[in-house]
Amino acid sequence: MICPRCEFVEAYKVYQAEDKSWEVYRCPRCNFNWRSTEEQELTEPKLYNPRFKLNEKQIQDMAPKPPVPPLRKTQDPGVREKKPPSRT
């Protein structure tokens, strides 16, 4: 199955309705989810709005929200921070 948004070829069926009226698919690359009964513009790669398409480079360049903070340094409770040198 091809992801309609990023065209990754390893998208797959992830769920089917109990009464089998539709299936849900997911893309493991861009996390797009879609239902088989949605509009063709959302389920067909060729018809998906180009403004919302994604590719690998765009994904690699995405900014993190929120940013990942630096790991905290383990502090030795017995050692106090040095004072900055005096200006005099």
Binding site: V14, N31, W34, M62, A63, P64, K65, P69
Partner: protein, 468 residues
């Protein structure tokens, strides 16, 4: 009487003509989004309960529960025709009852079914795409509970957009200005997962307070109690140490994976624009507890304003900064921050001395919500009702002197989903001082306001009588 669950509120709304049931089978897409959009745009828009959804035989969906000021008034147990200004003043009074701590219960319907092996969000919730170009199926009205991972204190209840990405994975938007981002940052500095619970379909004051910008150390459950006038009921989570809203229909428990980000979005935001795809935090779900079917899944339609989110947040973003500023500025009369989460905010106040309007606007910008959201602040005198835009526009028309009363603060913090940004998260704050200049400032050249004739109220009554 305050409501203890979404169901209790829907009963009240139905009795008041503010709930419409859709009994026919609907498709998850596009029926639910279109009906929810319509409901919010109808005058006195009702809540909508979809009773039959294709593919989800044992689930129902509730939309537009907060989607009119009539429903907002009913939530507060006020007559549905209560004016906006009266609802604002009532919330201001109830805020003073804070804190009314939560009451712990040992049993609640949300514990009727507990799924702790291979939970599937696709199976347990009647998911649907809220807007066509959203990146997936969103939980747009669920409340997230977390605690400071270092101290175990400062429990937070907040509302953040969440994208279902797999059976047991949900993306969560933890924007830096929100309390959960403080918990997440600490967890990530320590490289440990952050335990959270996601409560779906809550009694409406819970959703109101979850979307209210309280101070970091304030307890949302104690504020829910204050607004309701009665303690909120909470029940313990199955894992971790979190308090869950007792009236919820479904609770999803899990942990935010530390130090990793995953593709999320876009999502049609309250701005009326899609926010772009970014890499965001993700939750590994390990347990779902819920009522026995048929559950009601409450979700929110956000799109071209006004939609339900504008009604739900109108008063909370107005009352919170008002209460945060009032102790230092007793002159304050009211704040109207109803427009796109307060991007445009109107402050009404008495003036202590010349230039005081600028002081008030700057103070707004240091409240929790004011730091990021407002970018256009209008200050008016106390003779102007900030909820009456005819009056506000009049004040700007005749009291605003651009060469003295326009202030621009460039390169200031802004909302990260503002479509007008040049740099994401950065904006220019604009202050419009539309107050009458007072001593020691130079007064207006023509300072005599025309009085409304004192006989006007008499004649208003007479005309209305004859009109019938």
């Amino acid at each position: 009487m305050p409501f203890n669950s979404l169901r209790a509120f829907l009963d009240k709304a139905e009795a008041e003509g503010q709930l419409v049931r859709i009994k026919e089978k609907v498709k998850p897409e596009p029926d639910i989004r279109a009906a929810a959009c319509a409901a919010a745009k109808i005058a006195a828009g009702p809540a909508i309960l979809f009773e039959k959804i294709e593919g989800y035989p044992s689930k129902q969906v509730a939309m537009n529960v907060h989607g009119s000021f009539q429903n907002h008034a009913l939530m507060l147990d006020l007559p549905k025709e209560t004016s906006l200004k009266e609802q604002f003043q009532e919330l201001v009074r109830r805020w003073d009852r804070y804190p009314i701590p939560a009451r712990r219960v040992s049993n609640a319907p949300l514990k009727e079914v507990i799924i702790d092996k291979n939970p599937s969000l696709y199976k347990e919730l009647p998911l649907f795409r809220v807007n066509p170009m959203d990146g997936g199926f969103y939980l747009s009205k669920a409340c997230v509970i977390s605690r400071d991972p270092e101290t175990g204190e400062d429990q937070n209840l907040g509302m953040y957009r969440m994208q279902v990405k797999d059976h047991d994975r949900i993306g969560i938007q933890a924007a830096a200005q929100h309390d959960i981002a403080i918990h997440l940052r600490k967890a990530e500095e320590l490289d440990i997962p952050l335990r959270i619970a996601i409560a779906v379909s809550n009694e409406p004051v819970t959703s109101l307070v979850a979307s209210t910008p309280l101070h970091y150390h304030q307890d949302e459950y104690s504020m829910i109690g204050a607004i309701r006038g009665e303690s909120a009921e909470v029940i313990s989570s199955e894992r971790g140490n979190l308090d869950l809203p007792g009236g919820a229909e479904v609770v999803i428990e899990g942990e935010i994976i530390p130090r990793k980000r995953f593709v999320e979005g876009p999502f049609a935001e309250y701005t009326g624009y899609y926010s772009s795809s970014m890499i965001q935090a993700e939750v590994q779900v390990d347990l779902i507890s819920r009522r026995r079917d048929p559950i009601i899944f409450e979700n929110l339609y956000s799109g071209l304003p006004w939609t339900e989110i504008d009604y739900m947040m109108a008063m909370s973003t107005s009352v919170a900064p008002f209460k945060q500023m009032k102790p230092e500025f007793p002159e304050l009369q009211a704040i109207n921050a109803m427009y796109s989460h307060g991007y445009v905010t109107i402050i009404s106040s008495k003036m202590r001395f010349g230039g005081f309007a600028k002081t008030l606007a700057l103070r707004l910008l240091t409240t929790p919500h004011g730091i990021n959201y407002p970018k256009f602040i209008i200050v008016v005198d106390d003779d102007i009702d900030p909820f009456d835009l005819q009056q506000v526009m009049w004040a700007i028309s005749v009291r605003f002197r651009p060469e003295r009363d326009l202030v621009l603060i460039p390169n200031a913090p802004g909302s990260t989903v503002d479509p007008a940004h040049l740099v994401r998260g950065i904006t220019t704050k604009t202050i419009i001082d539309a107050t009458k200049p007072v001593f020691p400032d130079i007064p207006l050249a023509d300072a005599s306001i025309v009085d409304v004739p004192p006989e006007t109220p008499f004649w208003t009554e007479e005309i209305l009588k004859r009109r019938k």
